[in-house]
């Protein structure tokens, strides 16, 4: 599938009706989502024929992008049932399959190494401090091949240090810097639209052969 086609399919997806600020629910734009998954597939081969998990999937944009790029199986995980319902409708509209689980990422207790790749647009941790690192830590435990994630550019050094030192990553690399267009969703947003700089990361977990049974 061409990048343009992917972006246009994702652009038609339904997004949050009533975004919940405590969960930092912001839609992942079709522009960013399509580039993220397209790069994961075409530069690294981390999507097609793989098992992909979308952490904090919200309305499912990243996970659905993975299904469109021929992931063998995709699982979206989110704490919010309203989001999961929209994700399910979006999957039906695209006529693809995506497994959905309602769970808090920090309580995810997965057995074995089933998931190859984790993709996520985690909360940035502006409302609940440290939640972004929680996502990253679990993602690096669950994935056997790679983790793709978006983080604020201002936190770059911190992310790199934590991933390599604390979360068992063997490599942590910023693939590109993107502008994240945050539409005015919440009342406390004073400006109309805000552009913030985010990094697209690719993390590789250390091999876990000794720990899998």
């Amino acid at each position: 599938m061409k990048l343009k086609q992917l972006e246009s399919l994702l652009g038609n997806l339904q997004q949050f009706d009533n975004p919940k600020i405590e969960l930092e629910q912001y839609p992942t734009g079709a522009h960013i989502a399509s580039r993220m998954l397209y790069t994961a597939e075409n530069s690294y081969g981390d999507v097609s024929n793989k098992v992909v998990a979308d952490f904090g999937c919200g309305c499912g944009t990243l996970g659905l992008a993975a299904t469109l790029l021929d992931a063998e199986h995709v699982i979206g995980i989110d704490v919010d049932d309203e989001s999961l319902e929209i994700a399910s409708i979006n999957a039906d509209d695209l006529e693809v399959e995506m497994g959905l689980i309602q769970c808090e990422i920090k309580n995810l207790n997965w057995r074995g190494q089933i998931v190859d790749t984790v993709v996520m647009n985690p909360p940035f941790g502006t409302r609940k401090k440290g939640v972004d690192m929680e996502f990253l830590s679990v993602a690096l435990k669950v994935a056997s091949e790679a983790v793709y994630s978006l983080h604020k550019t201002t936190t770059r050094e911190h992310i790199k240090r934590a991933a390599l030192r604390d979360y068992n990553a063997s490599s942590a690399e910023v693939i590109c810097e993107l502008r994240y267009d945050l539409p005015k969703l919440y009342k406390f947003h004073k400006k109309k639209d805000v552009d913030i700089a985010v990094d697209l990361w690719r993390f590789v977990p250390k091999s876990k052969q000794e720990s899998s049974s």
């Binding site: 399910s88 959905l100 689980i101 207790n109 089933i114």
Partner: protein
């Protein structure tokens, strides 16, 4: 949706399945993927889960890897792993008996405050 292994492996293993409704969805057959998954999953958990969901065609004990050359076997494995979906029911923790409801195919694994 890997109802029996991926979903079934959260919090205590394997989760017991209570079936109210199972749906079957057609998924493209990919032998290479299945061969790869064979070494990763807990066979007995898959076989038991499939049986509870009404599909008893899988051997109960872990088959020898030579079965992966058989197209007939792979088709059955494919069906059990990818095409059987628990649409309504529950996943039950084998240790505590805690029920995690499954509605519209989505298991609710949220924990209460005192369970974290």
């Amino acid at each position: 949706m890997l109802s029996s292994n991926i979903k079934g492996v959260i919090n205590g293993f394997p989760l017991r399945i209570e079936v109210e409704k199972v749906v079957e969805k057609q998924v493209d057959f990919n032998p290479d993927f299945l061969k790869n998954m064979f070494s990763k999953i807990d066979w007995k958990a898959l076989a038991d889960a499939s049986k509870i969901m009404g599909y008893a065609e899988l051997p109960e004990e872990v088959p020898d890897a030579s079965v992966l050359d058989s197209d007939e076997f792979l088709q059955k494995f494919h069906h059990a792993l990818l095409e059987l979906h628990l649409e309504e029911g529950a996943l039950v923790c084998p240790e505590t008996g805690r029920r995690f409801p499954v509605n519209k195919g989505i298991p609710n694994m949220l924990l209460h405050e005192d369970e974290v």
